[in-house]
Subunit: 424 residues, 4 copies
Amino acid sequence: MCQSISDKDMAKKYLQIVDPIHDFITVYPHELQLIDSPVFQRLRRIRQLAGAHLVYPGAQHSRFEHSLGTMHIAGQAANVLKDKGYLDANDSENIRMAALLHDIGHGPFSHLFEEVLQKKKKNSHEDIGKKLILESEIGDIIKKSGFDKVFLGNLAFGNSKYQFMNEIISGGLSADMMDYLLRDGYFTGAEHAKVDFMRIIHSLDVHDKKLSLDKSALLSFESMMISRYQMFKAVYFHKTVRSAEVMLIQSMVLADSELDLTTDDIKKYVQMTDEFVISKLVSLEPKNEELRRARQLAVEYQERKLLKCVYEKIFTRPRMGKVNVKDLQDEIAKRSKIDKCEVFIDISKTPSIPLAPSKKESQSIILTTKKGEGPKESYELPISEIPLVSAISGFMDILRVYTRQQFRKKVEIAANVILGENSQ
Amino acid sequence: MCQSISDKDMAKKYLQIVDPIHDFITVYPHELQLIDSPVFQRLRRIRQLAGAHLVYPGAQHSRFEHSLGTMHIAGQAANVLKDKGYLDANDSENIRMAALLHDIGHGPFSHLFEEVLQKKKKNSHEDIGKKLILESEIGDIIKKSGFDKVFLGNLAFGNSKYQFMNEIISGGLSADMMDYLLRDGYFTGAEHAKVDFMRIIHSLDVHDKKLSLDKSALLSFESMMISRYQMFKAVYFHKTVRSAEVMLIQSMVLADSELDLTTDDIKKYVQMTDEFVISKLVSLEPKNEELRRARQLAVEYQERKLLKCVYEKIFTRPRMGKVNVKDLQDEIAKRSKIDKCEVFIDISKTPSIPLAPSKKESQSIILTTKKGEGPKESYELPISEIPLVSAISGFMDILRVYTRQQFRKKVEIAANVILGENSQ
Amino acid sequence: MCQSISDKDMAKKYLQIVDPIHDFITVYPHELQLIDSPVFQRLRRIRQLAGAHLVYPGAQHSRFEHSLGTMHIAGQAANVLKDKGYLDANDSENIRMAALLHDIGHGPFSHLFEEVLQKKKKNSHEDIGKKLILESEIGDIIKKSGFDKVFLGNLAFGNSKYQFMNEIISGGLSADMMDYLLRDGYFTGAEHAKVDFMRIIHSLDVHDKKLSLDKSALLSFESMMISRYQMFKAVYFHKTVRSAEVMLIQSMVLADSELDLTTDDIKKYVQMTDEFVISKLVSLEPKNEELRRARQLAVEYQERKLLKCVYEKIFTRPRMGKVNVKDLQDEIAKRSKIDKCEVFIDISKTPSIPLAPSKKESQSIILTTKKGEGPKESYELPISEIPLVSAISGFMDILRVYTRQQFRKKVEIAANVILGENSQ
Amino acid sequence: MCQSISDKDMAKKYLQIVDPIHDFITVYPHELQLIDSPVFQRLRRIRQLAGAHLVYPGAQHSRFEHSLGTMHIAGQAANVLKDKGYLDANDSENIRMAALLHDIGHGPFSHLFEEVLQKKKKNSHEDIGKKLILESEIGDIIKKSGFDKVFLGNLAFGNSKYQFMNEIISGGLSADMMDYLLRDGYFTGAEHAKVDFMRIIHSLDVHDKKLSLDKSALLSFESMMISRYQMFKAVYFHKTVRSAEVMLIQSMVLADSELDLTTDDIKKYVQMTDEFVISKLVSLEPKNEELRRARQLAVEYQERKLLKCVYEKIFTRPRMGKVNVKDLQDEIAKRSKIDKCEVFIDISKTPSIPLAPSKKESQSIILTTKKGEGPKESYELPISEIPLVSAISGFMDILRVYTRQQFRKKVEIAANVILGENSQ
C-alpha cells in the first residue's frame, strides 16, 4: 500500500491499494474509515468462493478484495455518468460507498450461508447488510463523514429510488458482476472471464432513468454474458465444487440449533468467519445423530473427502419444473435401500442474464446510439435478438444427486430409474 | 480439477489441477495420496505470506498451492536432466515428491512461526518437516507407494548426497524460488516477478555433480535475481508488512507459555493453522501482563491497527554488524521515557543470492557452454562478474524501529539520536 | 533467437525462436533449411491480416510468424497422439513440416489475393502452395532431408489419406486456427481470442480414423468457437477493415491485366509481397480509366482515405441467398444516379464451424469419454447440441455497400430502398 | 477503431484506437488530422526495430503505433501535472501533439538510418522532424488547428524553454521511453520490459522547473531502468540483430551516392520507407564494386544470410575509449589477409540512464517527498545511490567484429590477437 499525496489546493490524502485486477485502487479517507472497521475487516476472512478452492486451489480470495474492486469499478462508472451530466460529485461518492458495502452482510462462506439462511427462513445477507449499515458502527462512520445512511442502505442493495444508480451496483451491467467475473477468473486460473469492462463502462449512458449502453459496446456486453455463463459452468456450478458446498451447507443446517449460526444477534453474526465456523463444526460434541453427522461432514470437507456425484441433469429449455427435494431424496433412498441422510440433492439455478436490482429477470437491454449530427436515440433490444446471449437464455438449471463413495453404485441406479436420462 | 485418462499401455490415471501460474499441474496417484492426507491439506490454511495480505489484499494464497507449483517446476527440471542423461525416471519421481513436501513442516504464518521457533530455540520447520516425513502418516504413504522415506526426508530439505538434486529443491536455481517469485508476484499484484523459468529450466545442466546453467540463459538468471531483490523490497520486507508481522511474532512469543505453540508434540503441531492460532490469541484470558499484551497485539493485528515505523536504516555495504536487540530496545525506551514493551526492533536480512542447500551463501554460479563442434565446457562465474547481481550482493539488511501511534514522536527522536541517519 | 544444444547421445542441434504467443518455438535443422529459403522468408513481408492494421494498428504481424506458430502447435498435437499410440516419430515430423508449409502459397495480402484469384478464376493459394512444394527449391530441401514431398504436398493442405492427420493441419480442431486466433487477438489487441489450446491439444484422440476430443474439453472447444465468432465480428469482418480490403481487391483486379498479378509464373509469383504490390499500384501510369482508378484506390488506401459503409445487413438465419453482385451494383448506381464504379458491394461469409479439410461444413464433433474402468467410448455430438456454438451455426453472412464520402447520402438512400432494412 | 461520442455540452467527437499496450488510445479531431496526413501515415511502413524481426519474428511493429502510444502516455503525464496545478489544458494539448510528432522525422529503418545520416554528416532525424513540422503539410495542419508550430517544433524534440515539459517527451522519465520499452517487449516477446508506468506517471511532480518523482515511486523507476538495460542486452544490441543491421547500414552507405538516400529534398525523403529502400537496394545495377556490394548485402539481408560475429568485447567500467574504426578494420583485414570490405566493425553504446533532452547524460534524479503535515520537499538523488541503476551506470559499450561465414576462422584469430580477450 503506497501512500501518495496530491495537493493542488489543500492536502487531499488518499491511499492507493495494490490489486492484481485493477493495479491500484484509490481509497479516500472516509472510505478508509469504513474499510478499517472490524466489521469490514472481517470480510478478509470470508472467501469469495466458499469451497471452490478445493477444486481450484488458487481461489483463496475474499469478499474484502472484491468489495474494494467493486467500489473501484462503480466509481469509474459513476465518473463516466458524471462527465455525461447525469450525476454530480456527491452522487459519485455515494455510489462508491454503496458499492464498497454491497457485501457487508455476507456470512461465512458467502453464498453458501445464504442457502442456510433460506432453508432456515431467515433474513438474506442483504437484509443483514442493511441492518449493519443502519445500526452498527458502519452507520456511525457514514454519518460522521456527512453521508446519509438510510440512502446508502438502500443504494447498496439496489433499492434506492434512482434506478440507474441501483443498476451500477447490481444487475447485468453492474460493477459487482464485472469485478467478480474478472477476479474469480484470475484467482481460480479458469481464465474464462475476459471482460472488457473499460469499454463497457465508457459506453454507459442513461435513458428514461435506466442505465443504457452505447450500441458500439454491444459485442463487449455479449462477451461478458458469455464469460459469465462459462464461469458458472466451469466454476460456480462445477460438480466437485458443489459437492464440497453441499457438505458444508448440510453440516451448517444440522448444527444450527446447537451453534445458533443463523442468529439474529448482529454482534454474534459478525464474529463468524469461514475458519471460525469450520473450527466450531469439526469440534462439535456428537450429542445426537444430527450433530454427529454435522461434524462428520465438516471433517470430511476439511480433509477433502468429498461426496460423489452419481447423477446430473442439465436443463436448458424448458427450464426445470418445481422439484420437491425431500420427496425426491426419500424416493431415491428407498429404492437404493440406504438411509436418506446419505442421499444429497443439489439444485443449481441462475438466470442467463443477471437479475436486475428489482430481482426480476431482464428480458432486454437498452441501447443508445447516435447517427450523424442528430441527437442520441435509445431503444430496448430484447435479449432474444443477441444471438449468443439468447442461446443461453432461459434458466440454466442443474439437478444433481450426490452420495458417499460406498453407496455410489446403488444411488446411481436408483437416480437413473427415477429421474431418467443422465447428462453426466 | 479435470480428470483425463491417457492409456497407451495400461490405464495410468492422473489428475490435472488448474493453477493460475502453471495453467495445469499434473498429479500422479501416489502424489495425490500425499496431497489428500490431512497433514498436507492443512497447508491450505497456512498463508504463503503471513501478514502481507494486510498490505496486498490479494496475497491470500497458501503453502498448498505453492507446494504443488514447486513440484511442477521441479518435475520439469528433472525431465530436462533426464533427457540430458543425468537422471532416470525414478530419480525424477523422487524429486517431484521431495519438492511437494519441502514445506510440509511449516507452522502457522509460515516464516513468522520460524522466527518464533528461533527465539524459543526450537527446531526449524525443516527439522519438523523431516520428522513428519519419517514419523507421520506421510511416511506411511511414501512407503506404501514404494519410495524410500529416509531418502525423501533428506532430499526435501537439500541434504541428500546428490548435490545437483538438492539444488533443484533449494538454492539459487531451485524450483522453490521460481515458484514463489512467480506466485507471490501474481497474487500480491506487485508483478515485479517476471521469471523466465522455462528458459532457465531448459538450460540446466550438471557439472562435477553440481547444477550448472547454460551460458545462453545467464541474462534470464540475472533477471530472476533482480526480481527476487525487488520482491524483497516491495513485499517481503515492506515496512507495513513487517509491522503486521512484528506484531504477530511478538504476540506468539508472549503467549507461547500459555498456548504451547512451540510444542514438540507433532500431533498438536499439525493442528495449528493461521486462523486457529489467531482465534486462540484474540481470546486469551489476560491472566497476566504478558497475556494481556499478547491478546492486544493479536486483536490490533486482526483489526489492522498496525504499529508505526519511526526509523529505518538500510545497510548495503558494509553489511549490518551484530545488533543486540534487547539493549537497543532498552536504550530507546529509556531515552524516550516509555515502557520498553512499546519499542519494537525489527531486523530483516537476506543474502543477495539465495542460500545454497548447504546454507552457505553462494559466491558463484557454474556456467556451461559449447563452442562449435567441441565438447561442452563448464566454469565457475563469480557473482561479482554479473553486474546487476553483484550490485545487490553482500547482505541486504534493514533495521527498523516500530511503536504505537501515541509514542511516535518520542521514539522517532530517540531512535535518530541513538542510531544516526534515518534512511526513511 | 537463442541457440541451445542438448547432447544426450549425439549432438542434436536445434534453435529456439522467441515468440510472444508460444514463448519459444523449437526449430530443428531440416525445418530451418525450409525457413531460411527465400520462398519462405518472403512470408515475413506478407501481413497476416492484410488491411486490418489500418483499424488495429498493432496488426502488422506476418504469415511468417503464424507459420512457425502453426508448426509449434501441430507438433504438440502430434506428440499427444504419439503418446497415445496413434503416430510414430516420423509422422510427427511430417505433421510439423506440413504445418510449417500450409501457407507457403499465399500471395500478397493473404486472403485478399485469394479473392482476386477467385475473381480471375485462377488457382487457389493451396494449389500454388502445392506447386511450390513439388516444383521449387522447397521440394528440393524436403527431398534432401529425406522426406516425401508428394505426401507433404498433400498433408499441408489437408488432402493426405490420413484423415486425422489432415485435421491437425486444417479444420475445427486445427493448429492453424488455434494459432491464428491467439496471434491475431494478441497483435490486434482485440483480445477476444482466449483459446485454451493446451487443454484442447491434450484432449485430442482418434476415433475411426478421425480426430476426436475428450469430452472433458468440450467447454474449451465451445470457448474457442466463440472466440472465433468474436474475431470475425470484431476484426476479420469489421466494417472499416473490409472497406480497406475492398479497395485493395478492386485495385488489384483493375490492374491485373497491366501488372499480371495473377501470373502462372511461379518465379514471378514469389516476388510479390504486400509492399511490392502496393508500390506497383500507386505508381501505375494512368493509361486508361481502369488503371487510373486502380491507382487512385491504392493511393487512397495507402493514405487511409477509406470508402464509407452506407448499408449493412447481417444474415443469421436463414442464410443469405445467392446475390448477383453486378446486378445489385448496377441497380444501386442507377437509382442513386452515380457511376457504378463508385458503388462497392462486399459480401463476407464464414461457416460457424471452420471447414473440415474436405471443405464440407462440419455438422458435428466426435467426443471420446471413459467411464469408470471400462474402455474408451466415442460418439458424434451434433453441433446443434452445443448451445453456444449452435447459436452461431448456419452461415454468418454480411452484405455491405460502400461508396466514396461525397456519394454517401445518395447511395445510402438507394441501398435502403433496394435492400430493405439496414442492420447498421 | 470504435467511435464513441460523448456529448456533455456540445458534441465533442473523438476516436478510440485499439492498441495492445494501452487498450484504447483516445484521439481528438485535430490530432486525427495530423495522423491522417500521408507524412504521418508513412510511419506505418517504418519498423520500430529495423532488423530485429529477423531474430524476434514478432517485432514487425512500426513507428506509427509507437507515436500514438507516446502521445497517450504523454497525455496522461500532462493530466497528472495539470491536476497538480503545473499545467493548463492548452499545455496538455501541446504536449500530446509534440509527443505524437516526436518521431515524424525518422527515415527508413529508424535508428539505422540515423547511423547512415551520421556517417554522411547529415542532419539528424530530429532536425528533419523539425523541418517537417515547420515546412510541410504537418505545419499547415498544426496552424489550422490553432496551435503554434514553432513551439511544437521545439517541444517535440525537447528544446522548448519549459524544461519539465521537454522531459515528458524525452529523457529518463519520458513517455517515449515508457512506450517503447513496453511495446518492444510486447512485440518481440522478450518480455523483459515490465514498466509500471502508471505508478511512475502518477508520481510525477515539478521541482525548480524540472520534472521530479515522488519518492514512493523510486522502486518503479529502478525497475524501469533495469528493464531498459535488459532490452538493450536482449534486443537492441543483440549480436544477431546487430549483424542484420550492420549489413543494412553498410548497404545504404555504399548505395547512397547512387540512390541519394540522404537527400535534402524533404519530399523525396518522406517517400522512403523500409520496403521501398530495400527494393531499391536489391535491384541496384552493379555498375561498380560499391554498388555490387551494396546489392549483395541487401539481398543477403532479405534472405537472412547474416554476417557472423567472431569477436565481442563488453566494456562496463572503464568505458570504451575512442576507437578508430577504419584503422581497426584495416589492421584486422591485413592480419587475416582478406579484403577489408569483409571486416565489419560494430560499436554499440548507450548511457545507462537515457539522455536528458539536453543530450547530457543524467547523473541524478529529483525526488519529491512529503513528511507528515509539512510541505513537499525535493532533493537530487545521485544515480550512484540507487544500487541497481548505479551498477549499470557508466556507458555500456560493446565492440564487435563481424565477417562472412567463409572468413570466420581467420578473422576470429586476427581480432583476438589485436583486441585481446573476447567476452563472447
